[in-house]
Symmetry: none
Subunit: 93 residues, 2 copies
DNA sequence: AAGGATTTGTGCGTATGTATA
DNA sequence: CTATACATACGCACAAATCCT
């Protein structure tokens, strides 16, 4: 289950500014993929907003909207002054 | 109870999306009433744009257009990074 | 204890795109 | 074509919490 197919599928690793999907949704999908593949590990911080802005060349508003999606999905938790951390799978809401 | 019954109150407290007046003008009227009745007090901030969006279920552009009217009327002053504040009555332009 | 750097939280300023009446 | 309304996107500024020196 999860996001579907277990076989190879092309997961976007770059942001398409002219794509059909809004940039913040693309970024959310990108980060979700990194979490699901373990590239961003549980209880570890994801890159800071300023880093994500640099890496993907987007504004802070876009970064925060993307992270907001992951927060609503319960995938990450943001802590003021510390960072945004990947939740372990068994984390209760 | 709820919204104050059906008294002869000419001041709208809700937004009518199908009303004759544009939503942003309705919202401006609503906020102006709250200021004049002292529900929004001088030198105090009015609810943030994001709050007004949630409360009245309108978009940001609509909120900003409403506030723009109050600014032109000299009722409030918006300060970037801080908020939008009710001007005291004796405030000079 | 004090100060600075980092990071998230909040809020306004502005511009553009899309849809509708 | 214009006015209204919402969504997206970037920028700037300040507050609050945390961390480090």
């Amino acid at each position: 289950m999860g996001h579907g197919g277990g076989h190879l599928r092309s997961v976007a690793v770059t942001i398409d500014h002219d794509g059909a999907l809004p940039v913040y949704k693309q970024l959310a999908n990108l980060l979700r993929g990194q979490i699901e593949r373990g590239e961003l590990r549980p209880n570890r911080p994801i890159p800071a907003e300023s880093r994500l802005m640099q890496i993907h060349e987007v504004g802070r508003d876009t970064v925060r909207k993307a992270i907001a999606i992951l927060r609503e999905e319960g995938l990450v938790i943001a802590i003021q002054g510390r960072g945004t951390f990947v939740k372990p799978k068994d984390e209760a809401e």
